[in-house]
C-alpha cells in the first residue's frame, strides 16, 4: 500500500515539476525544475526495480543535460521573451 502512495506522490511531483518548468519565465529556474523532474524520474525508475536505467538517467539527465542547459543560458538570455533585460 505504501508503495502505491509513494509512486503516486512521485508521479504527481514529476507532473508538477514539468508544469513549473514549462511555465516559469526565468529559464534558469526552468532548468532547475527540469533537473528536479529528472531526479524524481530517477527515483521512479529505482522503484520499478531498474537500477541500471536509474543510474544512466541520474548521470545524463541530472548531471550532464543540466550543465549543458546552464552553459546555453550563459551564452544566450536568461529571461524568456527578453523580459527584464
Amino acid at each position: 500500500m505504501i508503495f502505491e502512495f509513494l509512486q503516486a506522490a512521485l508521479l504527481l511531483g514529476i507532473v508538477a515539476a514539468g508544469f513549473l518548468a514549462v511555465k516559469s519565465e526565468d529559464l534558469l529556474k526552468a532548468v532547475i525544475f527540469l533537473a528536479a523532474m529528472s531526479l524524481l524520474l530517477t527515483s521512479q525508475f529505482y522503484l520499478f526495480q531498474a537500477p541500471d536505467v536509474a543510474i544512466a538517467e541520474a548521470a545524463v539527465g541530472v548531471g550532464l543535460s543540466t550543465a549543458i542547459f546552464v552553459i546555453t543560458i550563459k551564452k544566450t538570455e536568461r529571461w524568456e521573451n527578453g523580459k527584464k533585460n
Binding site: 537500477p51 541500471d52 548521470a59 545524463v60 550543465a67 546555453t72 550563459k74 551564452k75
Partner: protein, 157 residues
C-alpha cells in the same frame, strides 16, 4: 563573457574532482557486478568537465587538449569493435573470455554470490572501452560548445 566564478565555487569544484573521478571509475569497473557500466560512468566523469567549465570559465576550456581526447575516443570505439570481432570464431559479440580461466575468466556458480571482480569475460573490457569513448566524446562536445561562440567573435574582429 563567461569569466571565472568566485573562489568558493572553484575550491569546491577542485575538492569534488577526486570523489567524482573515483565514483565514475567505480561505476565503470564494477559494471559487470553492480548496476551501471561504461555509459553512465563515462557520463559521470564528463560531468566533472562541465563542472570545471562552469567554475573556471573559458580560459580553462582552451587548455583542454582535444587531440588526446579525440585519440581516446577513437581508441575506445576501436577496442570495442575489436573485442566484438575477436569472438567471430563462434559469432559476432561472442564472449570468448568467459569461463576460460584467463583474463577476467573466473567462472561462477548460479545464484547469489558476493561478487568477484575477476569474472565476466569481455564484459569488463567492453565497459572500460565504452567508458573511455563516452568520457572522451562528451569532454570534446561540451568545451567546444562552451568556447565556440567567443572564438568566432574573436575571428570577426
Amino acid at each position: 563573457m563567461s569569466k571565472e566564478m568566485s573562489p568558493i565555487v572553484k575550491n569546491v569544484a577542485c575538492v569534488l574532482a577526486i570523489p567524482i573521478i573515483i565514483f565514475g571509475l567505480y561505476i565503470i569497473l564494477h559494471g559487470h557486478l553492480t548496476p551501471g557500466g561504461g555509459f553512465p560512468g563515462g557520463a559521470i566523469m564528463a560531468s566533472l568537465v562541465a563542472l570545471f567549465l562552469i567554475a573556471f570559465g573559458t580560459g580553462w576550456a582552451k587548455k583542454i587538449n582535444k587531440g588526446i581526447l579525440s585519440w581516446g575516443e577513437s581508441i575506445g570505439l576501436a577496442l570495442f569493435g575489436l573485442l566484438a570481432f575477436l569472438g567471430l570464431g563462434t559469432s559476432f559479440f561472442n564472449n570468448f573470455l568467459a569461463n576460460s580461466n584467463s583474463l577476467f575468466g573466473m567462472s561462477i556458480p548460479f545464484g547469489p554470490n558476493q561478487g568477484f571482480l575477476w569474472t565476466g569475460g569481455t564484459i569488463p573490457l567492453m565497459n572500460i572501452a565504452v567508458g573511455l569513448e563516452v568520457f572522451a566524446a562528451l569532454s570534446i562536445i561540451i568545451p567546444i560548445m562552451f568556447s565556440s561562440d567567443e572564438s568566432s567573435k574573436e575571428g570577426k574582429k
